[in-house]
């Protein structure tokens, strides 16, 4: 059948990232309100200007312990009562810890906003940070590290980051802290960190949802009275690159190996960002990207392989990443390194056109919900990007050409100067990987 020909695709409608109503609370907290019709679940992000390099080197993880203990009781409500009150409002509370700063996050049906916002403020502005709760979270974090270490893919990502970035910078180590420093964290150190760094100075409150009335006054009642005279603001310190290395993390007998092959990247403010977004989509983002088309669709080596550029506040990193069965992983690395060398096969008009259409098309979906918008707005705040960043970036994306994509790509991806991390069976893969030219490959256990 199908006498019907393939139908043409109509142009996408006009879409813009929503713009906030900006204002300020009486203590200086910036308020950004996004009125989003139809979004019955409100999302609130309180963005705190506390970069992780504010942590003392020997207590890394203290920021994470501090944020995780926020909802374990307050000066007003006990650790039993507080989460009960929040959950009774149908609210969800969470925290996000990134190198650039901390966020507390609330999701709640708009009908329960008033009470939930009070409780949200209570957690952030007057947490108990009690001894038992901090100590428990330290133990849980140590257990979490063990769980992550047992997971091959997570280990690959952690070790890769620790290799790509210089060892003396915060970016080389896990956001939540490594076992040695987490084990040293005491309740007093958490309270001390809170006193020194968590406060209204530099904070931004983002509210997104279908508000029945302007939430400014509620925000003022909840957060406007917050003061912390001891608050110190610490400037964000950009990460520095580490030396290029090749590592195998040994997992004797593993049926698969997790691969990360990449290096230092760029952040969203770099003029090359739109071009590298397009180039990396063509190389390892699309289903029929150059990498996935060969390693998955032609060879069946993997469930999926990607090339990701991960931007940070300053700088970033990139990697070809995937899991491959042990028998083929060395060949997969060999082929991946050939495929990412575009010198003989430059990006085409069609690849660029498809990439632009893809990013244009998926943006409205990414930002369709209150939490999608608030999440992006929180990110923009932490990274120092303007409110119209998404629109401007999409406009710049449409100007990318095969030439500009090639130029950005060539300046960042140097196929024979990349860091390699493979988590897998060293006995099976280490020697053959050395044979590919990774002469100084080290085998480590972790």
């Amino acid at each position: 059948m199908s006498a019907l020909p393939q139908p043409p695709v109509g142009p996408p409608g006009i879409w813009s990232f929503p713009q906030p109503k900006p204002s300020q609370l009486s203590n200086g907290i910036e308020l950004r309100t996004y009125q989003l019709p139809g979004q019955q679940v409100v999302s609130a992000h309180l963005v705190l200007d506390v970069p992780l390099n504010a942590e003392p080197r020997d207590l890394e993880g203290v920021a994470t312990m501090c944020t995780r203990t926020l909802d374990e009781g307050t000066l007003t409500h006990s650790g039993e009562e507080f989460p009960e009150l929040l959950e009774t409002e149908g609210a969800g509370f969470g925290v996000e810890v990134t190198l650039a700063g901390l966020q507390a996050v609330l999701d709640v049906p708009v009908s329960h906003l008033e009470r939930a916002l009070e409780l949200f403020a209570e957690a952030v502005t007057e947490p108990a940070l009690a001894d038992d709760d901090v100590n428990r979270h330290v133990q849980l974090r140590l257990a979490e590290i063990e769980q992550a270490a047992a997971n091959s893919a997570q280990t690959a990502s952690t070790v890769f980051r620790g290799t790509v970035f210089a060892a003396d910078g915060r970016a080389a180590r896990m956001n939540g802290g490594e076992p040695e420093t987490v084990a040293r964290i005491t309740p007093e150190s958490v309270r001390d960190f809170y006193r020194r760094h968590v406060g209204p100075a530099g904070a931004t409150l983002i509210l997104a949802g279908d508000f029945t009335e302007d939430p400014t006054e509620r925000a003022e009642r909840a957060f406007g009275g917050w003061v912390n005279p001891d608050q110190q603001r610490i400037a964000y310190r950009p990460p520095a690159p580490g030396p290029t290395r090749a590592l195998v993390v040994d997992r004797p007998g593993a049926v698969q190996a997790d691969v990360r092959l990449g290096g230092l990247g760029i952040d969203r403010r770099d003029p090359r960002w739109p071009a590298i977004t397009v180039a990396s989509y063509a190389m390892g983002g699309a289903f029929l990207s150059r990498l996935n088309a060969v390693l998955r669709e032609d060879l069946g080596y993997t469930y999926g392989v990607r090339m990701n550029f991960s931007p940070m506040r300053d700088s970033g990193f990139f990697a070809v990443q995937g899991s491959f069965r042990t028998e083929v992983v060395v060949d997969a690395v060999r082929r991946a390194r050939e495929l990412i060398d575009t010198s003989a096969q430059p990006f085409t008009d069609a690849e660029v056109t498809d990439a632009v259409a893809y990013f244009t098309g998926v943006s409205p979906l990414s930002y369709a919900t209150a939490d999608g918008v608030a999440g992006q707005a929180g990110l923009q705040t932490l990274l120092g990007l303007s409110d119209d960043y998404v629109d401007r970036n999409l406009a710049l994306l449409r100007n990318v050409t095969p030439e500009s994509a090639a130029e950005a790509y060539a300046s960042l991806v140097r196929p024979h100067d990349l860091t390699l991390v493979v988590v897998g069976d060293a006995a099976a893969v280490a020697e053959p990987l050395r044979g590919l030219g990774f002469d100084n490959l080290d085998v480590v256990t972790r």
Binding site: Q147, E297, Y303, D354, A357, V362, D371
Partner: protein
């Protein structure tokens, strides 16, 4: 299913959609197989045309070569998601403890390596011809398109596809609660000992299932749940503890509880602590406040689910496919909110006797 059809080249199904700005994927699960894409409205015709061409003519493009290739891809998926992760076989073990071997829920959807190796081109043809019928499919469209227009376009692309003899629903009748206290032990390179429990529950779409869903929420969802308060926060025996239901339509659903031990806590002590909280559901039924919290959390999750066009389309499809009534999406919150303490007490009493659960103890392999 993404390898092409009569008018679509290999891999082009996703490639064409992504080039129209689409997010595309598919899932196979116990009760339904789901193909979905979300894209700007101007690509609706393309999406429908591709789906119809595939439904009509997949087998024209299915060769031994691309079957073999995709078999390898699925085996990589199995290694990545199950075989190479800690506790990766726990789900399969629980499936087989909870349901008989020949029951549709007695094994995981991805199958075993042996099953995957054994599937022939002929098997795939037969399966496709039997199940991939236009009269055995539900199409849901959510977006800025009028109802009349959407129906007209669906008719354009799917209207001429030949219906077939619709396969019957699963033959599995409802089973009663587990009896006999099924147990299994497993060990592996895992970072902590863990205890899993599972239950047979009534099928979704019943008041008893909704009641048990709320009971499981009280038992093991969130920071105020009994398992978290009792095991993680209170006695500090566990690094995590939770419980959840998996609503299924084929006669029964699944219920699970799960906890990982803190260092120095024996699996036996952990198991007893989980059992204590499970049994407490009978002796100390959920309080009004606990019930209110469970309902409030459910309502937020449900509102969130309906906040995006893609998850909304999925919800309509789910209720149309499994219950024959997409309108249930609109009454779901009211239905759950109408569950009473008495409903919960009755369901707990019927499905939660001490012998009604299966237990899987997962131990750290001593190196």
């Amino acid at each position: 299913m993404f390898q092409g059809s009569a008018n679509v080249g290999s891999g082009q199904h996703i490639a064409l959609l992504q080039a129209a700005g689409a997010s595309v994927n598919a899932t196979t699960w116990f009760d339904r197989t789901n193909y979905f894409e979300t894209l700007p409205t101007g690509g609706l015709d393309l999406a429908l045309w591709l789906a119809a061409d595939r439904l009509n003519s997949l087998l024209d493009a299915l060769t031994q070569e691309n079957l073999d290739n995709q078999r390898e891809v699925v085996k990589e998926e199995k290694r990545q998601r199950y075989d190479n992760v800690p506790y990766g076989d726990a789900m399969q073990l629980l499936n087989s403890l909870t349901f008989p071997p020949d029951h549709p829920y007695g094994h995981t959807t991805i199958g075993s390596m042996d099953d995957l190796n054994a599937a022939t081109l002929d098997d795939v043809h037969t399966f496709f011809r039997r199940h991939y019928l236009v009269n055995n499919a539900v199409l849901s469209i959510v977006g800025d398109v009028s109802v009349e227009d959407a129906f007209a376009r669906a008719e354009t692309y799917f209207g001429s596809l030949p219906p077939g003899s619709k396969p019957g629903k699963s033959t599995a009748g409802p089973l009663g609660p587990l009896t006999g206290g099924a147990r299994a032990e497993a060990s592996g390179r895992v970072p902590a000992d863990a205890v899993y429990m599972s239950w047979r529950l009534p099928a979704r779409g019943t008041r008893a299932f909704d009641a048990l869903d709320l009971a499981f929420s009280v038992l093991g969802q969130g920071q105020t749940s009994r398992l978290h308060k009792g095991l993680v926060r209170g006695a500090e025996l566990a690094e995590s503890a939770s419980a959840t239901t998996m609503g299924l339509i084929g006669g029964n659903s699944f219920g699970f509880a799960y906890s990982r031990a803190r260092d120095g806590v024996s699996p036996a002590d952990l198991e007893q602590a989980v059992v204590d909280q499970v049994d407490r559901l009978r002796t100390e039924p959920p309080t009004e406040m606990e019930l209110r919290r469970a309902k409030a959390q459910h309502e937020r999750h449900w509102l969130h689910e309906l906040a995006r066009v893609d998850s909304r389309a999925d919800a309509f499809s789910e209720y149309a496919t499994l219950h024959g009534d997409p309108g249930l999406v609109n009454t779901r919150v009211a239905e759950l909110n109408s569950v009473t303490s008495d409903d919960i007490a009755a369901a707990v009493s019927e499905w939660f006797a001490a012998s009604d659960r299966a237990v899987l103890v997962y131990r750290q392999e001593q190196s």
